[in-house]
Amino acid sequence: MVKKLMKGNEAIGEAAIAAGVRNYFAYPITPQSEVAEYLTWRLPEVGGTFVQAESEVAVGNMLFGAASTGKRVFTTSSSPGISLMQESLSYMAGAHLPVVLVNIMRGGPGLGGILPSQADYFQSVKGGGHGDYQLIVLAPSSVQEAVDLMILAFELADKYLAPVMIIGDGMIGQMMESVEFPEKYRDESNPDEKDWALTGAKDRKPRIVKSLFLNPEELEINSLTLDKKYREMKKSETRHELYKVTGDTKILITAYGTMARICQTVIDELEEEGISVGLFRPITLFPYPEKELFAEVIKDNIEYILDVEMSTGQMIEDVERIVKGARPIDFYGRTGGIVPSPNEIKDKIREMLKK
Amino acid sequence: MPGIRIDKEYCKGCELCVHACPMQIISMTKEINLKGYFYARLHEPTKCIGCRICAITCPDVAIKVLTHGTRFALFEY
């Protein structure tokens, strides 16, 4: 396999092609515009097309239309753009359409700023649109993982017929790291006929892709079908990573995405000082690795949990829900696009240890 | 001889066909269909010229037009 040094945004674009995507719809927004700039020349090389839409509202709905063909489709955006796509996300979840969205998060609320942030956790994980639905949410912490999770995202979208969202931040999008792509790209030239895709009602009954069920009993069935999928995801699709969690670990950090990487440096540096801190990094934010986290925190040596985020505290609500008061939980976060430095986090931990 | 068939269950009693018919041979019944509408009927079948205007006008596609042998078309449709 050939290693390439690539910007996260460009690697995300290439990963989509590796996953068989030939149709990409997007609207420019910092800090993810390089995806479109990359795919605008790269897609035609593989016989694909990119449509620069008039708004993110249109992008989301173009995805609905494109996904109805049964082919793999995706888009990328950043926080304010993702807000505009919530309409279509609700519709696509309701209509059981497989799509992949990437949110390279920036600071909010409102127009906010353009620097890295993790303040869209609630929006991504708790359902940003209307109705009873969830997205599968994946959080890469390196460019290579962004590539791997892109490929996984399409598999999961197809498996569950559901929208999948990858959330990263400006760091993932802007930094260059070495990446490897699969040797064999997925061949989408003759995709399997899907029994729900709109391909023309030839020798069969017409198919309808919709989220409208005026009959309450039918609508409830649709909601229960969705719920069943979410239960299945919770059972089979959780993913997480532990870093330096040992029998001596007193403090367990919970963090995801690039924040988890910064915590990794914190852990390495504290280890040199003889302080054992471990990291629990959820890779799937929905379904959250609940059992796995609980199993770690109730170990006798764990005394504290420190949740670190680039927000005023969003994932911590899930951590609290899962830990159920079994251990004290502290929080450290910065917002506005300020990335907490390893030093700040180390100071926070030293302060916790004094208690 | 030309003629029309009105499917009374499709008819919603809007009366557009009654006004459209150039021969004025369609009228509304005093009976109601399953949906509760007074439906249209052809009251003078022998006068029908098979022009299709009633069927073209009907928003509920309740009217079928039939003819025997060759026919004279008033207009292309």
Binding site: R22, V51, M62, T69, L198 | C14, T57, P59
Partner: protein
């Protein structure tokens, strides 16, 4: 009638057998039929996907014998864009009302038209919001009474009705833009020709085609179906003139 009768007019194959939910005298049914007949006559049904809007025709997918998508309010052109770009070999049409297309979906329709997306839009203008109970539409006539303009549309406060066909005709890209009516048999016959032409052009891979259809809403206008057709002729048509506004075949626009 004896058995050797020829059927010279019946329900098109592309239309399902279902009885529509539309009110008596509502001309949505006529427009549905014209679209279905066009698909049948051009042999396109088996590779056609329709996009239903939000509004009275939200359930349009129940009345056609072809694949369908149900869009969010106003977004039908975006769905159509996504679909057609991904499956350029298919025939795609959106069926949209005036609230859907000229209000909440204004952005989507203008940009789809301007990008020259290769689908056909059937735009049904009945000058009112039907499904939500007769509120003012962007196409409501001056002084027309609606539930949100009870003393008549006041143009000083709300501006004049939007003429979508004229507006979109200023764009260079679209290949065919026309306005027709279905308020008399003669107009229906003409409308059929225009709608069929729009689909033919799409089948010939020409870019964006749109037909606006002046339609009726007897229920929310509060008059009979017959009076409704007369009102279209007397009040709507002078403001919304019929005709082909842009036709690449005629070198117009």
């Amino acid at each position: 009638m004896s058995n050797d009768a020829n059927i010279i007019f019946e329900r098109p194959t592309a239309m399902s057998d279902r009885i529509t939910h539309y009110c008596p005298g509502c001309t949505h049914g006529v427009i549905h039929r014209l679209v279905a007949e066009s698909l049948d006559e051009l042999g396109l049904r088996e590779r056609t996907v329709g996009v239903a809007p939000v509004g009275c025709s939200v359930l349009a997918y129940n009345y056609f014998n072809c694949d369908f998508m149900e869009a969010a309010h106003g977004r039908a052109p975006a769905l159509a864009t996504g679909f057609k770009r991904t499956r350029p070999d298919m025939i795609v049409f959106t069926y949209q009302g005036d609230g859907d297309l000229a209000s909440i979906g204004m952005g989507e329709i203008v940009h789809s038209a301007n990008r020259g997306e290769k689908f056909t839009t059937i735009f049904v203008n009945n000058a009112i919001y039907g499904m939500t109970g007769g509120q003012m539409a962007p196409t409501t006539m001056p002084l027309q009474k609606t539930t949100t303009s009870p003393s008549g549309r006041n143009v000083e406060l709300t501006g004049y009705p939007i003429r979508m066909v004229e507006l979109l005709s200023t764009l260079k890209t679209p290949s065919f833009i026309a306005r027709v009516g279905v308020f008399s048999p003669m107009h229906i016959v003409q409308a059929k020709k225009i709608i069929k032409k729009a689909f033919r052009l799409q089948a010939e891979n020409k870019c964006f085609t749109m037909v606006e259809v002046l339609s009726t809403c007897p229920t929310n206008w509060g008059i009979t179906p017959i009076a409704s057709t007369k009102w279209v002729a007397s009040d709507m048509e002078p403001y919304y003139p019929l005709g082909v506004f842009k036709d690449y075949e005629e070198g117009e626009g």
